[in-house]
């Protein structure tokens, strides 16, 4: 078995009605005239192959067709034309919080979802136990699902999908959620799965994770596959093109589901830019320079006492996180409708590689989350002398001791 997934000339167009008429009466009144529709070519003649045992990454800007492609691979959507060949069983983990039922217990949910994913009947009990252990939910085994936190739900969904023992695993932005410890655990499992010749397809905005884990990266843009190959090369080009998009004045849409935005929105981010030491928006930073994370913030409803925070990550690993309180700054409350800019300046003490920043606004007193956007900014760091690692500590040589022989020779002369 050479290829786990083969996609041959797959196209998919969605017809989006301009005015949504969902009721029969509305359609009757309209005399069943064809509705004015906008055709959205989500995928346009996409072909590629993923070899068995490959950890493949799928990157692209919002709306590039990544999720559509994943849904077609998962057999949820039917392509308009083209052919998809899947060799082996497949376990999808698309958007989280899967078809679980809040009124059933953790066990029952895992058993039900496991049955859907194809756990063999006689192994269900045993596998469900393993799932619960892996998800670290032993204490909540018989708790109703509604009493679980969203992080626990993610862990349960993920563990259940993992234990389906499928040959191919489809993951949509899973690395963006869940705590760092669990993410690391998952990466360990991925390493195991790869050794068992299992195939993983990861869709992510986190270019750091993609370069860290994937062997092959596919880049979709406007429904077309524009590039595929070695992760580092694809991601570098991808970020270079992001730079072009930034130069054209387009700002990223923080509301896109890929960013996993949460919070009550009392104070919200409107735009985010990463600037270099000359105040130019960039996607590539030189190491040992100073960068600015510029955040446009809007107050939605007062009173509020916002604390602003940033989390710098690579893959599942947090490299640095801070907030305005830790820095010792107190940001004045935002009036409703008020717009202001918050700018974090920081040292790019980073090794060469790809990084992402999550941004957050939290209430100072109640610690409730106003806004939390994962993968808000992606960037690349260049110019570091770091051999292997994540930080550039700017090593230099203080004194150069001469070899003993040379010293003796020096004295003689």
């Amino acid at each position: 078995m050479s290829n786990a997934i083969e996609v041959h000339g797959v196209s998919k167009t969605f017809h989006i009605p301009h005015e949504r008429q969902t009721t029969l009466i509305e359609r009757l009144l309209n005399g069943f005239r064809p509705l004015p529709v906008e055709e959205l070519a989500a995928l346009d003649d996409v072909s590629f192959e993923i070899p068995a045992g490959c950890f493949a990454g799928l990157i692209g800007y919002n709306g590039s067709g990544k999720s559509t492609l994943l849904k077609i691979l998962a057999g949820l959507l039917v392509p308009d034309s083209g052919r998809v060949v899947v060799n082996g069983t497949l376990s999808p983990l698309l958007e989280l919080g899967l078809g679980f039922h809040a009124e059933l217990t953790v066990r029952e949910n895992a058993a039900l979802y496991g049955a859907v994913l194809g756990y063999p009947e006689h192994e269900i009990d045993q596998r469900v136990d393993e799932v619960i252990r892996f998800a670290e939910l032993e204490r909540f085994r018989d708790a109703k699902l509604k009493s679980l936190s969203s992080g626990m739900l993610v862990r349960l969904a993920f563990s259940t999908a993992l234990r389906a023992d499928a040959d191919i695993l489809l993951l949509d932005e899973v690395l963006a959620v869940g705590d760092v410890q669990f993410q690391r655990k998952c990466m360990d499992v991925f390493a195991d799965l790869r050794q068992q010749n299992k195939t993983i397809v990861l869709v992510s905005h986190d270019v750091g994770a993609v370069t860290a884990y994937c062997e092959k990266v596919f880049w979709l843009d406007h429904g077309r596959l524009v590039m595929q190959g070695e992760p580092h090369e694809v991601v570098t080009t991808y970020l270079a093109l992001s730079q072009q998009v930034i130069d054209d004045g387009a700002s990223s849409n923080l509301d896109h589901p890929a960013h996993h935005r949460t919070g009550d929105g009392r104070v919200r981010y409107v735009a985010v830019r990463l600037l270099d030491d000359t105040d130019t928006p960039v996607t590539v930073l030189r190491t040992r320079t100073r960068a600015v994370l510029s955040l446009d913030v809007e107050g939605r409803s007062d009173p509020n006492e916002p604390v602003f925070g940033m989390v710098l990550r690579r893959g599942g690993e947090v490299i640095y996180s801070t907030n305005t309180t830790l820095i010792g700054a107190r940001v004045a409350p935002f009036a409703a409708g008020e717009h202001r800019q918050v700018r974090f300046a920081f040292d790019v003490a980073l090794a060469n590689g790809f990084y992402v920043i999550d941004i957050a606004i939290v209430d100072r007193v109640k610690a409730t989350i106003h806004d939390w956007v994962t993968n808000a900014v992606c960037f690349q760091v260049e110019g570091s002398t770091c051999h292997d690692g994540i930080a550039d500590l700017a090593a230099g040589l203080d004194s150069v001791p001469a070899p003993a022989g040379a010293v003796a020779a020096g004295r003689e002369s």
């Binding site: 969902t22 996409v46 034309s81 052919r83 069983t89 049955a115 570098t236 080009t237 270079a240």
Partner: protein, 309 residues
């Protein structure tokens, strides 16, 4: 890292936008219309079957799923209630008592063994009403699952109807007790009763399959079906006798499969008479037709249902 030349090459690809035909498209059968056929072509179907959404012949796994869903559905329905499953008994019993009071005591219908007559009608109708309502709504209700996991989607519909079937079984047990108490003898005619149950299951499933995908697209279907069930209750001889309908309206009961199933069941269980065979066969054929139409419609509509949630 790849040399400058390689990067340049890749960059050109990026700008060129459609590199994939150069790499893979050549000589492959592209642009095959695949509107209503499975995503996974038969020729390439793997040894271990990939979960497809197609209605495949029932296998063990699907049965397991259906029963699991049905049992969990049934369980969920009565959480947060003190009486729990008792409600599935109480509901038809309470209505039965009310109708008995109104129609037998107040209006003085003269029907032999009216309690049994009434309860049988109500129990059969309740299954049809509940099963079809849940069945029609099942695809929408289970959207969270249907849109995220490739599974045989008809499982969801069958499970909804089966879940109503569990209540039905409990109700039938109560009915059996009542018939016993009111002195309706069990005769060999009762052997024909399973045929009525099959008819009932077929028509309930058929309607559910017929409308469940449509319901996702047009929510009206759900409301409309609710109205049909309400009207149906009064147009079907459940609390009254078919003979009470004036001659010119009698066709309403004659062409109503539910009326025929209920009437025949009464003949069998209460009066111990085997109904006329040709009439029974006709009813079965109608129910079978509805079921086949439902299967065909579902098969056609389920492929693209995900786009309409």
């Amino acid at each position: 890292m790849g040399g400058g030349a390689a990067t340049g090459h890749l960059r050109r690809r990026a700008l060129g936008r459609s590199i994939e035909p150069l790499l893979h498209g050549r000589g492959l059968p592209v642009r095959v219309r695949l509107c209503h056929s499975p995503v996974f072509t038969a020729a390439t179907r793997p040894a271990v079957p990939t979960p497809s959404t197609e209605a495949a012949p029932m296998d063990r796994r699907q049965w397991h799923l259906i029963t699991q869903f049905a049992v969990k559905d049934f369980k969920i329905r009565y959480t947060h209630s003190l009486l729990g499953y008792t409600w599935s008994l109480l509901n038809p019993l309470i209505f039965c008592v009310i109708y008995y009071l109104v129609f037998s005591v107040f209006i003085r219908f003269d029907v032999p063994n009216y309690p049994g007559y009434l309860l049988l009608g109500i129990v059969l109708w309740t299954f049809f009403a509940e099963g079809s309502t849940h069945g029609v709504g099942s695809m929408l209700a289970r959207g969270g699952l249907v849109t995220k996991v490739a599974m045989p989607r008809h499982v969801v519909v069958y499970a909804a109807v089966l879940s109503a079937g569990l209540t039905f079984v409990i109700n039938l047990a109560v009915l059996a007790v009542l018939l016993r108490v009111t002195g309706s003898p069990i005769t060999p005619a009762a052997l024909v009763f399973p045929l009525q149950l099959i008819d009932l299951a077929l028509i309930t499933l058929g309607i559910s399959l017929l409308l469940s995908c449509l319901h996702v697209r047009y929510r009206d279907v759900g409301y409309l079906w609710g109205v049909v069930v309400q009207i149906g209750f009064w147009l079907t001889p459940i609390i009254y006798q078919q003979a009470m309908i004036p001659e010119q309206w009698r066709w309403l009961a004659t062409y109503n499969p539910l009326a025929r199933i209920i009437q025949d069941s009464r003949q069998i269980l209460i009066y111990g008479v085997v109904p006329e065979w040709t009439a029974m066969v006709k009813t079965t054929l109608v129910c079978l037709t509805v079921m086949l139409a439902g299967l065909a419609t579902f098969r056609r509509l389920q492929a693209r249902v995900v786009e309409y949630y």
